[in-house]
Assembly symmetry: C2
Homo-oligomer: 194 residues x 2
Amino acid sequence: MNDSEHPPSSHRPSVWERLADAAVDHFRVFRVRRTRYRHARDRHEGEFVIIEANDWVNVLALTDDGRMLLVRQFRFGIHDFTLEIPGGVIETGEDPVAAGVRELREETGYAGRAARLLAQVRPNPAIQANVCHIVLVEGCVHVGETQFDPNEEIEVSLLPIDEVVAKAERGEIKHSLVVDALFYLRAWREGRMK
Amino acid sequence: MNDSEHPPSSHRPSVWERLADAAVDHFRVFRVRRTRYRHARDRHEGEFVIIEANDWVNVLALTDDGRMLLVRQFRFGIHDFTLEIPGGVIETGEDPVAAGVRELREETGYAGRAARLLAQVRPNPAIQANVCHIVLVEGCVHVGETQFDPNEEIEVSLLPIDEVVAKAERGEIKHSLVVDALFYLRAWREGRMK
């Protein structure tokens, strides 16, 4: 085994310069764009396809008695129900924390005492340009009725935080961006995130 | 605050029946499909767009001295470099663990003593149909040269597992599917995953 930090097969990657850009098609929640690139060192060109979408927000909504809000809904991508945390698409120009508070209110009827941006992940850097913001809302209480978007149909539940983590570990929660939020929630509970 | 598991605004979601299906366009690593659905209860119809791709695999490749293999590469989606774990697209019909072992070997020149499927996540159940398999490979050693795909240019490094987790907590690793793998790696190290 090689003991250096960079093993012998390591190969320093180059930046690619963006050349031409063409929107391929606009779908409802994303756009597909085909872009021509040139490698910065060897000048070789290639065409790559990127999915563009507004940023997303996912909300870790906690109650003071150590429970979390979950939403269950039908998801067309996998043609099945998922158990997730509240969240959605951030409107153009909207602040991510404000968007998280809004989605939480709309999807669950809950609001919290304090909201903050906990972490940011890239859903898929290879083919997707956007960011998923993970917002933490503490002290959540039920404040009113839900306000669903068209075609949105959501079942809300409250579960102990440890039970939510156990569900992810058992594969009952499989949404990658929800598992990310649980990773950062744990780091925050253990005092490693501000 | 409401104390039941299902708060008052909860609303049981319905299945949607799949009606017509039309492939919209084929891109290199995914296809976009527009599908017409009908709600099972109120018979109302809607059209939704799904991104279809082969399944993906991400590899937690560990050495016996407690380090992990990381790859750094230019990612077109975010037009920047990322620090990730090895992985890639599973070929049609290929076993996920075999695909993980293959990607690890091609991207890093490393191979391990034992490989197993640790967990599976859904990259985005709302708009994406595929699965990302998380494969754990223990006892990794350098066995030969890398074999990059066309346009693949990868810098390999080996870092202590705890340092990789710290990088994710500091936001230096932001790839959602890599953070997922670190969530399951921790559960495995703490004896909660088989």
